[in-house]
Symmetry: C2
């Protein structure tokens, strides 16, 4: 919404202070004089803003720069450990966590397996896990960033529905906030991945981006004009439980033909198990004791060994992902699409199938413009997405982190 | 993109001047004192801004208001004919046009049938049509707003592709701009309808909205946070040529199973013709001399007479629209969805089919939140959308038009 409000001196001051912080972020090390030139603010305004930021512990003075003539200027940089964040990703199999500093450097990484995925049981694991991470922080904490699968009401910090966990209306944000006394930001995992790709991704910067997380579950996150787009109920990109097939394959959510049942790694493993069961001579049986014991790793081995039937199983998942990409292209017309998650090792075949469906399903002008990446991205990606949520919400730092000296995926 | 730039005095002045204009728009008639209170600007700042706006002919003084004590204040209002706009919609059958004032009042409505829809032929009709409208204006012109079907590059004013017109890269914006010497804004018809529904629609205001135009062609327009969302190549909402069916029904675009071939009024008429041809006893044959002569009006008559087979034909189009609405809900999660265009007279059945597909195809949380309207909207809707484009681009007037004394659809 376009909010027009009076432009007051206080607004101007905050605005200028943010501008100075972002500029220091972007240029890594700059002098006050350079800041004045870059921001076009007066020297006095810059000095005041810098003094405030130093006082807050967000900026620090470092060694001396060079000057053509006159006094050698002091350089300024973001105090990278001036604030830290605790970030946790709740995945279907485990908790992953780390402490992240203002520059996006991760330390104190930890994981904890989840055997029982009911809400209460996850909380019993989550509390000590977060406590441990809080203790690992070496600087003041800015907040906690949590990513989880499912429909998440970010505004109220509630996990509304996570089909595979059977969660309903779990007030995770408030629970953590009251226990740890820190601001908590909660996001859908696919949203966190989209934000991380936008801010830290290895490709040319772009204003709009779609990330599709394809693992045991499936969902998309959308960045529009540099910001996560949530939709009216934080459900934007909830394509995993969108029906895309008239067949009768049942989904955990109760419907039939959901994208997640057809294109996720779970779908691939499921089809591979059927394949192994019906064909005892299948290569798949070499990599697992029984058809039921086949996991994604076994499928990948058979795939890499060139098993034609397994390639067909993967190609079928790719075809359904192509339907999803076509649908996102026809609705959003965003060029940059990143497929990330445990499906990535099947890379080229998945990519090829998606592009061929895309050509078949949308106008050539739109299909030709797509930049599609299928990329394995470790847990650091999603953890950085969680950190970015805290960083943008608490300090208003957006986008420019991208061009900083920070990490790239 | 979040653009942080220096907040200068000039920015503040422009900002405040826009704020004053928008506030006058919103409150219809206000005094300078009320403006100062509403905007929280100083009396001097308000007076300066008002003087500038009066000088530009955008605001005028009217009769006297009431004051509890002291001098009776002069009221200000937008000079509704201080600027006018010429707007034209290029539809598959005709040109529709009007002159619109700052309050969205239309006059000088005109139509001109299109017999030849090739680019050159349409231009031969369009030039004299626009000339005639320019002559009908009774105040200075702010610009020309044009809506047309197809993929339109708004930035460069080029119709990139209109499948049903066989247009490719027609530089309509520049052609009109150089001929009439006025700013020209060009938009896809579905985008104009979305904007008109957002600004002038009869329902409760909302920040996000999707309008799906369903007539001979089919496309969607999306308003996000009060602004049209175009995507990277102005292709957002280009769902008409998205393949949604594995059948082999050919489309004019060269693909098979496009939504437009299955859910548009053209699809309904096509299926009705087949029906009439295979069943000579069909009610449809009462309303047309031959099956080939059946048009939408004949189908509607048979539908209203309760013909079961015709209802089935309409229901089938509704089912495909339901697939589209489910897809838009799973990707955008926008609650307000307006179906508009020549399909509207089939209202309740279409609505019912869409809602039932929606329940079947997306998570209940998302499906239950949808506010769906199926509404007949005359050519004024799309013309107002064209006017809104000019108004927002030239004067920055957005959203508040909505609560003004202006028209509602």
């Amino acid at each position: 919404m376009v909010q027009l409000t009076k432009a007051t001196r206080r607004h101007t001051k905050d605005h200028n202070s943010r501008l100075v912080l972002q500029t220091i972020y972007e240029y890594a090390e700059v002098s006050r004089a350079e800041l004045a030139r870059l921001t076009q603010l007066t020297r006095t305004t810059v000095s005041d803003a810098v003094a405030e930021l130093i006082g807050q512990g967000l900026v620090e003075e470092v060694g001396l720069g060079r000057a053509a003539i006159g006094r050698t200027p002091t350089l300024l940089r973001v105090a990278e450990d001036g604030r830290q964040m605790v970030v946790v990703n709740i995945s279907s199999q485990e908790l992953q966590g780390a402490v992240v500093n203002l520059r996006g450097a991760l330390h104190g990484r930890a994981t904890r397996p989840l055997t029982d995925r009911r809400g209460g049981a996850v909380l019993d694991e989550l509390y000590p896990f977060v406590t441990e991470l809080v203790e690992r922080a070496s600087g003041p904490l800015l907040g906690i960033g949590i990513s989880a699968p499912g429909l998440i009401d970010m505004g109220r910090g509630i996990v509304q529905q996570t089909v595979s966990f059977h969660w309903q209306d779990l007030p995770l944000g408030n629970l953590l906030q009251s226990r740890f006394g820190l601001p908590v930001y909660l996001a859908r995992d696919s949203h966190a991945i989209a934000l991380a790709n936008y801010l830290f991704g290895p490709h040319e910067p772009t204003t709009n981006l779609i990330a599709i997380k394809v693992g045991w579950g499936l969902g998309a996150g959308i960045v529009l004009n540099g910001q996560l787009f949530f939709g009216d109920d934080y459900g934007a990109g909830e394509i995993g439980h969108l029906v895309v097939d008239e067949g009768d394959l049942p989904c955990e959510c109760g419907k039939r033909g959901c994208l997640e049942t057809l294109a996720s790694t779970r779908a691939i493993v499921g089809r591979a198990r059927s394949l192994a069961a019906t064909d005892p001579a299948s290569l798949l049986n070499r990599y697992a004791a029984t058809p039921e014991a086949i996991d994604l790793e076994a499928v990948l081995k058979a795939f890499l060994a060139g098993d034609a039937a397994v390639r067909q199983v993967v190609a079928e998942a790719g075809r359904y992902l192509g339907i999803a990409v076509a649908m996102l292209t026809g609705t959003f017309n965003i060029r940059r699409i990143v497929i990330s998650g445990r499906i990535a090792p099947f890379g080229e075949l998945i990519r090829e199938r998606i592009l061929s469906e895309l050509q078949r399903r949308v106008l050539p002008n739109l299909a030709d413009a797509i930049e599609l990446y299928v990329e394995a991205q470790g847990p650091d990606t999603i953890l950085l997405g969680g950190a970015a949520l805290v960083l943008t919400s608490e300090l208003g730092l957006v986008r420019m982190i991208r061009r900083s000296a920070g990490p790239t995926l």
